[in-house]
Amino acid sequence: MATTFNLHRFANPARFMRLTDVVLPWLSAAAVASLAIGLVMAFRAPPDYQQGETVRIMFIHVPAAMMGMMCYACMAVASAAALIWRHPLADVAAQAAAPLGAGFTLLCLVTGSLWGAPMWGTWWVWDARLTSVLILFFLYLGYIALANAFDDPERGARAAAILSLVGVINLPIIHFSVNWWNTLHQPASIVRMGGPTIDPSILHPLLIMALAFQFIFLALWILRTRTALVRAKIDTLRQRAAAASGVDRG
């Protein structure tokens, strides 16, 4: 089983640290560069004929929404790996992804609300997509709260991993049911895009921004995972030092 073997090789924390030592600076540079290019393009894009300058919110809003969902997928895959192969690195990675996902989801909700105020004339509507994202945000909060609710961090990690898999099964059901509920309550959608197709002058900056958000997420995810690993190592060293000196610091 060559694939399993490879997977296990990369799951080794020491190897992960060595590999990311090389990868992380490049990823960070790619994130900064693509964000800079994307932002310049976003501000040079022509204003929409209906929405005016507010259309620029989309360049943050849409990538944030995409990342909010992608983070959950990453978290769930890492959780599944942690439950199946019991690799501590997968646990650490899953927990490192959760606050990032919650952050992107919150960013999506806030920018959506800011965009909705001038466009729809209200800060919030119970639109199907908004509601789904709000529930996704709640799921992230539940995951983070559960992971930190135990005195034994390993138990918290396991419980949270199971919860994230339960969430994966439930997310399509929630999305579908919210759509149904919304069509029952609100016959017409108020969302108006510029037209059936997006003009290249808007599409190109959007794609660059989406790419930039991917890089930002990957760089931050690796950084958070590394930080958690280092912190665990410091804790172990501290305990060992305390045991060796025979002093009870508790």
């Binding site: 709640f138 909060l141 559960l146 199971i162 898999l165 339960v166 929630i174 049911s177 149904w180 029952l184």
Partner: protein
């Protein structure tokens, strides 16, 4: 199967001898539902319009009340470890406990819906539909709750955490439960909603005990 029935029996006996949980849930349900007229005003038309929603939301909250003790006492006194060692698979242990939880809180809630529906001026044509939607929906609440109770076993502030985890997952049940009951008001067919609710129950019956048993195994490790 004998062990399964015996376990349900034991939980029911415990619930009846100790009194508390089911009665408390019903009392909370009736009280909370009767707060709404004070909050939104006593106009009969308004109440009739929102009655099914109020009943569903308060039933959902009431079903949460006893959940944090679903495995807690058995876990504390070691019974849960004995059950895990017994020949009965842990998945069936969870299913038995969820069934007992539903019989103790879900069924009384469905019965208490009738007087609450009268208080809230619910359309009497809608009542059978509401009861049917609760009959299909409350077992799902017990099953999803079982997963939450297993995952939060031994957690700090387990009760509050449990509701934080379980409530978002229960939103689809709420949506289809209310939609199924309210379809009569709008003069629509409600068969689709009931089929979907039944489908969710059919999916939750095997999946939730599986997830909850996985959670319990982590807690017992």
């Amino acid at each position: 199967m004998n062990a399964f029935v015996a376990l349900v029996h034991r939980d029911l006996r415990l619930a009846f001898r100790q009194g508390g949980d089911g009665l408390m849930a019903v009392l909370f349900f009736v009280l909370a539902a009767s707060l709404f007229p004070f909050g939104i005003g006593p106009e009969p038309q308004l109440l009739a319009r929102v009655a099914a929603g109020i009943i569903w939301v308060t039933a959902l909250l009431a079903a949460l009340l006893a959940l944090d003790r679903l495995f807690q006492t058995d876990w504390e006194d070691g019974t849960l470890e004995q059950l895990a060692l017994s020949a009965l698979p842990l998945e069936l242990v969870v299913l038995a406990k969820c069934l007992a939880h539903w019989l103790v809180t879900g069924v009384p809630l469905i019965l208490a819906t009738i007087p609450v529906a009268v208080l809230l001026n619910l359309d009497l044509h809608e009542l059978p539909m509401l009861l049917l939607s609760l009959l299909l929906g409350t077992p799902i609440l017990s099953l999803i709750g079982g997963v939450g109770a297993a995952l939060t076993l031994g957690a700090r502030r387990g009760g509050v955490l449990l509701s934080l985890l379980v409530l978002p997952l229960e939103i689809p049940v709420l949506i289809f439960g209310v939609a199924g009951a309210d379809a009569v008001l709008a003069g629509r067919e409600s068969q689709a909603q009931f089929l979907l609710l039944a489908g969710m129950l059919a999916a939750a019956l095997p999946l939730c005990p599986f997830a909850a048993a996985a959670g319990l195994r982590q807690a017992l490790e």
